[in-house]
Subunit: 209 residues, 2 copies
C-alpha cells in the first residue's frame, strides 16, 4: 500500500527536512488555506520553484507533515499501560502530554487547525486508528475502576479532558500568556500547570472511601 521506498539523494533528504520544518511553522500559525507556498519557500530560504522541485504540490507537504505528526502524537497514550499503579500511570500520562504541549506547540496547533476545520484529511484515521486506541485504553481504565483503584467515571470523557487541558497550553498559548501577564506568564507556567493538573485529576479520581 505504501509508496515503494523512494530513493533520495543526501541533498533531497536535507532539503525536504528544511521544507517540512518551515512548513510546520507556517501551516501551524496560518492553517492550510491561509498559508502560501511563497511563505514556506521564504521560511525555508529557497525559491518557490525550487521548493516545488522537492514537493510537487502544496498538499503533499501538508500530508507528509500530518502523517509524521500522527505517529508521535499518539505515542503518550500508547504508553499508558496496565502495569503499575493506576493513579501513577495517569499522572505520568498527563505529564507526558503536557511536555508535548510545551516542546511541540506547533505540532499541536497543526493538529488543532485540522480538527477545527472538520478534519477533512484525517477523518478516516480518527474513526479508525484513533478510536481503536482510545477504546482499548478506555477498557484498561474501566478495569482500574472495577478493581476500585480509581473512582468510577466515564473513561472516554476522562481522556478527552486530559487532551483538552494539556493541549490548551499549546493551542491557546497566547491567551494563557496574556491572562497570566508578564510576571506569571513566563517559563514557569508549565510547571504551575503541571502542579494544578496533577492535583485536579488525582484528587478528582481518587477512589471514594
Amino acid at each position: 500500500m505504501d509508496t515503494p521506498a523512494p530513493r533520495r539523494t543526501r541533498i533531497q533528504q536535507e532539503k525536504r527536512e528544511l521544507i517540512l520544518e518551515a512548513a510546520l511553522e507556517v501551516f501551524s500559525t496560518n492553517g492550510f488555506r491561509g498559508s502560501t507556498i511563497d511563505q514556506i519557500a521564504e521560511a525555508a530560504g529557497m525559491s518557490k520553484p525550487n521548493l516545488l522541485y522537492y514537493f510537487r504540490r502544496k498538499e503533499d507537504i501538508h500530508e507528509t507533515l500530518m502523517q509524521r505528526l500522527l505517529d508521535t502524537w499518539l505515542a503518550p497514550l500508547r504508553e499508558l499501560d496496565d502495569i503499575g499503579d493506576p493513579l501513577t500511570e495517569l499522572r505520568s500520562y498527563i505529564r507526558r502530554k503536557l511536555e508535548m504541549a510545551r516542546d511541540f506547540p506547533r505540532e499541536s496547533r497543526l493538529f488543532a487547525n485540522e480538527i477545527l476545520q472538520g478534519a477533512p484529511r484525517i477523518m478516516p484515521m480518527l474513526e479508525g486508528e484513533l478510536k481503536t486506541l482510545v477504546d482499548e485504553k478506555a477498557a484498561v481504565i474501566k478495569g482500574w475502576m472495577r478493581a476500585g483503584k480509581i473512582a468510577r467515571t466515564d473513561p472516554w470523557h476522562l481522556i478527552f479532558s486530559i487532551w483538552a487541558t494539556t493541549q490548551h497550553y499549546a493551542d491557546f498559548d497566547v491567551q494563557v500568556r496574556a491572562v497570566l501577564g508578564p510576571d506569571r506568564g513566563g517559563d514557569g507556567r508549565f510547571e504551575d500547570a503541571a502542579r494544578f493538573l496533577e492535583q485536579l485529576f488525582v484528587d478528582g479520581l481518587r477512589p471514594k472511601g
Copy 2:
C-alpha cells in the same frame, strides 16, 4: 472613541444580520484567510457586490463578528459571583460554559481560530479586559480557598482548565464524535460530558480533610 451611531434603514439592519450569520458559518469552519467573500455572499443568498455594499471590506465583517462574540463569550464568567456556595457556583459556571459549547459551537470555533493564529486582532482585549476579568474572578476563588470552602490550588489554571474542557466539545467536536462512535456520539454526549466534568471538578476541588 466609538463610531458615532451610524443610521441604518430597516433593510440595512436585516441584511447586515443575514451577512453576519452567513459569515459566522463560513469563518468558523474555514478561518479568516480560508474564507472568501463569494462563499459568504452565497451563504447569505446575495451577490458579492451587494454584500460589499453592506460591509465595505471582508475584514469589517470579521471585526464586527468578533466584537459581538467577545461580549457574550465572557458573560458566563462575569456571572461567577461571590454569593452562594462556592462549589455550586463553580458547578453552574461549568454547566453554562458547556451549554455554550453545545449551543454556540461556531462562535467557539471562531474564537479558537483567532487565538490559534496568535490573536492578531484581539490581543489588546486579551491583555486588557480579559485579564482584568480573570484576575478579578481569581481573587474571588482565592477567597473561597482561604475560607476553606474549596481546596487550595491555582485559580488561574483552574479557570483555564474549565475553558479547555468545555470548549473542547465545540472546537474538537468532530474528533469527539469520531472517537465516541455512532452509538455514544449522539446528542447524549453533552450530558455525559456534563456529568463527567461535574464529578471531576467537584471531587477535585472538594476541601481536604
